[in-house]
Symmetry: C2
Subunit: 110 residues, 2 copies
Amino acid sequence: MPKTAPCCPPAEPTPPVPADESEANEVLARLAKALAHPARVAILRLLVRHEGCIVGDIVDELPLAQSTVSQHLKQLKAAGLIRGEVDGPRVCYCVEPGAVALFKALVEGL
Amino acid sequence: MPKTAPCCPPAEPTPPVPADESEANEVLARLAKALAHPARVAILRLLVRHEGCIVGDIVDELPLAQSTVSQHLKQLKAAGLIRGEVDGPRVCYCVEPGAVALFKALVEGL
DNA sequence: CAGGTTTATCGTAAATCGACGATTGACGCT
DNA sequence: AGCGTCAATCGTCGATTTACGATAAACCTG
């Protein structure tokens, strides 16, 4: 049994765009806020690119302290854009494709 | 000669998506930040819908004080998403379609 | 089980945001 | 000239963001 990705398994379905406009505004605002910082955009891109997980390699890629990166990850997770799973001593983050798709749909609908 | 829209005339061309990734991250983050608040999303939608201008009618549409709306408009303008022109005693805001298109392109490219 | 890694959390400080009321500025009208 | 209207700006407040170092928690490895 290979020690393959213990991460990113289920892949939630894409949530629907809210019918209520003001609710759609809030959802879009929440997602936009999560990407309102270059570092978080960079993190999301990293995770999309290595489509799957990645760990604190993220820290190596960014000119930020480990604790700061952790904070950004927390915000991305709170917004539902990424998911993190514990893999032994390290933690594996991955994109939540449904959330990204929702974001794209909301932006497209502007 | 009708007293038609003194607003939204030139319509700048859509700026290109930056080739440099970290620059693209910054641009995307700036635009996302501008939409990181439900009120600003609502304002942008209002302007898109009445495709063209609109004045302080925006204030009537939102449950916010006039000064607060003005602040949000200022942020949207600073991000380049909207443009405002003085039309006599009132001010006419309108969408900057190129900036919205750029935003959509950047999000799509995630 | 002791030690080393990895990551999250805490505490802190500076900066920015979000909202409001009050004021100022610009303009058209009478 | 003076008045009313519309919108931007100012000043203020509390809350949030961003960043960091230091600490704590979880977990392999020897």
